[in-house]
């Protein structure tokens, strides 16, 4: 007999094999109407892609429970839509990205710490690898990471990327108006002017100083 609460998996084809959208009709036929996890492999999917995909699945009675992907861009989108998301290194064994999973392990590639909820004054979120926050960083709160700091919200507190010295690290936020920014050893006060509406912004080191400019799509892919 079928165990009905076991999770079935929908795996998209690799990028070079076929387009994920074209492969869907055939795959949908094989799915049963029950909770399903999606493996996006090396596809870089945005919120809209995932939304369309989940609506399509919903029509056939399939509910998406969580999403695996090899790329951060997809994880960011999935998390933004409220899915439990897992960043899988291309080598295989997958890493769960939640805020509780923080034991350092030098053998695994840099990990993404994912945290949902606003950081309020006095809070400090710190990660060994990259950190992705869904929520605001309020004045008086701190967010820091060995790698990149990504804030899906407003950054109004203090952010420190590359805290172990990585000068390539970046800080990205939907609204970047921090009190103070740090990348590796460089320190900058936040900009005073009003943010441009609707543009995510990115801070990184260029020629030894911290520069802020509209975020590039590349940010999430590196």
């Amino acid at each position: 007999m079928e165990v009905s609460d076991e999770i079935q998996r929908l795996t998209l084809p690799w990028c070079r094999e076929a387009h994920w959208w074209d492969s869907l009709p055939a795959k949908l036929n094989q799915l049963e109407p029950r909770p399903t996890e999606l493996d996006c492999r090396d596809w870089r999917l945005g919120c809209r892609d995932l939304q369309q995909l989940s609506e399509l699945l919903e029509k056939t009675g399939v509910t998406l429970t969580r999403i695996h992907a090899n790329f951060r861009e997809t994880i960011v989108s999935a998390a933004a839509l409220g899915y439990q998301s897992y960043l899988e290194p291309q080598q295989g064994s997958h890493t769960k990205v939640t805020s509780t999973d923080t034991q350092p392990n030098p053998n695994t590639p840099p990990r993404l710490l994912f945290h949902e909820g606003t950081l309020r004054s006095g809070d400090h979120l710190s990660a060994e690898g990259d950190v992705l926050l869904l929520g605001d960083v309020n004045p008086g709160a701190r967010i820091s990471a060995g790698g990149d700091v990504m804030v899906w919200g407003r950054l109004r507190g203090v952010a420190h990327a590359g805290q172990d010295g990585d000068t390539q690290a970046k800080i990205v936020a939907l609204q970047l108006r921090p009190l103070q920014l740090r990348i590796a050893d460089a320190v900058a006060r936040g900009p005073e002017d009003q943010p441009q509406p609707g543009l995510a912004e990115e801070a990184r080191i260029e020629g030894g100083t911290i520069m802020i400019e509209p975020a590039r799509a590349k940010t999430f892919n590196s």
């Binding site: 950081l119 004054s121 309020n138 004045p139 008086g140």
Partner: protein, 271 residues
């Protein structure tokens, strides 16, 4: 027995922003709406809720004797003279801080919940033991702040702590608002504050010298039929808690002289 008792912590983080004043006025206002209300002074270090309510000279026992089982709860409760729907459970002496634990506050709150519809807890400033004890007793909270950067910062910290303690809902009262300063952008606007704190605004209390006058007299503003802005604000907060839908005041339209109001009226009519 009151099965749907609301146990509400009134807290701020920063000191002196108006917790005790709100607790006293809200207590009276709720009592006047006919609901059985008790105010619990959890500020053992610097108790003054009794003073604000004009009940200082009627205290015989305190929370301390109740916890030590040296008296019954009803012996320690002080009924308000004019508003018998309101009672006060006074704080014990400051030495209580040395042994009081969160469980003790929970015990008191549970006892009070059996008799009252509302339990309002006047929280001490800060986020140390006194705060932690008080939080343990509360189900929901009202965070009060003034439109000052430092007060908002502390309120934000407190909200974070309330969240981790599972206190909800948390609502916001903005106190000592000065419409002129807000209009001139010399003070944070209400929107700036709610933007950061991300809480629903339960009330907006204007800076009002009558508050200070009434405090000194030991007669909360809501006790009289005073029409002064702060008195109205406090009773509106009570009515909103009771589920009435009362629109918030617009600071831009408050505190203007009669001439300004007429002028505004004429402007809107004629042009």
């Amino acid at each position: 027995m009151a099965p749907t008792t609301r146990t509400i912590l009134i807290c701020s983080g920063k000191g002196g922003v108006g917790k005790t004043t709100l607790t006293a006025n809200l207590g009276i206002a709720l009592a006047r709406l006919g609901v059985n209300t008790v105010v619990l002074d959890a500020d053992f270090g610097l108790r003054n809720l009794d003073l604000l309510l004009g009940l200082e000279n009627r205290i015989v026992y305190t929370a301390q004797e109740v916890l030590a089982e040296n008296c019954r709860l009803d012996q320690a409760l002080v009924k308000h003279k004019q508003e018998p729907n309101l009672s006060l459970l006074p704080a014990g002496n400051p030495r209580m801080l040395e042994w009081l634990k969160p469980e003790d506050m929970q015990r008191i709150a549970t006892m009070l919940a059996e008799q009252f519809n509302y339990v309002l807890i006047d929280c001490p400033a800060g986020i140390e033991d006194g705060f932690k004890n008080a939080v343990a007793a509360a189900k929901e909270a009202i965070v009060i702040t003034t439109p000052e950067v430092s007060a908002v910062r502390d309120a934000d910290r407190v909200i974070g702590l309330l969240n981790t303690h599972g206190v909800k809902p948390i609502q916001l009262v903005l106190n000592r608002v000065r419409p002129k300063m807000m209009a001139n952008q010399e003070m944070l606007a209400a929107d700036d504050v709610t933007d950061i704190l991300a809480l629903p605004l339960l009330g907006l209390v204007l800076e009002d010298e009558q508050v200070i006058v009434s405090t000194n007299r030991g007669e909360p503003l809501t006790l009289s039929n005073s029409k002064t802005p702060a008195a109205r604000a406090y009773s509106n907060i009570a009515r909103r808690l009771q589920g009435e839908d009362i629109p918030l005041i617009d600071p831009a339209k408050e505190g203007l002289g009669l001439r300004d109001k007429m002028w505004r009226l004429m402007q809107t009519k004629i042009f």
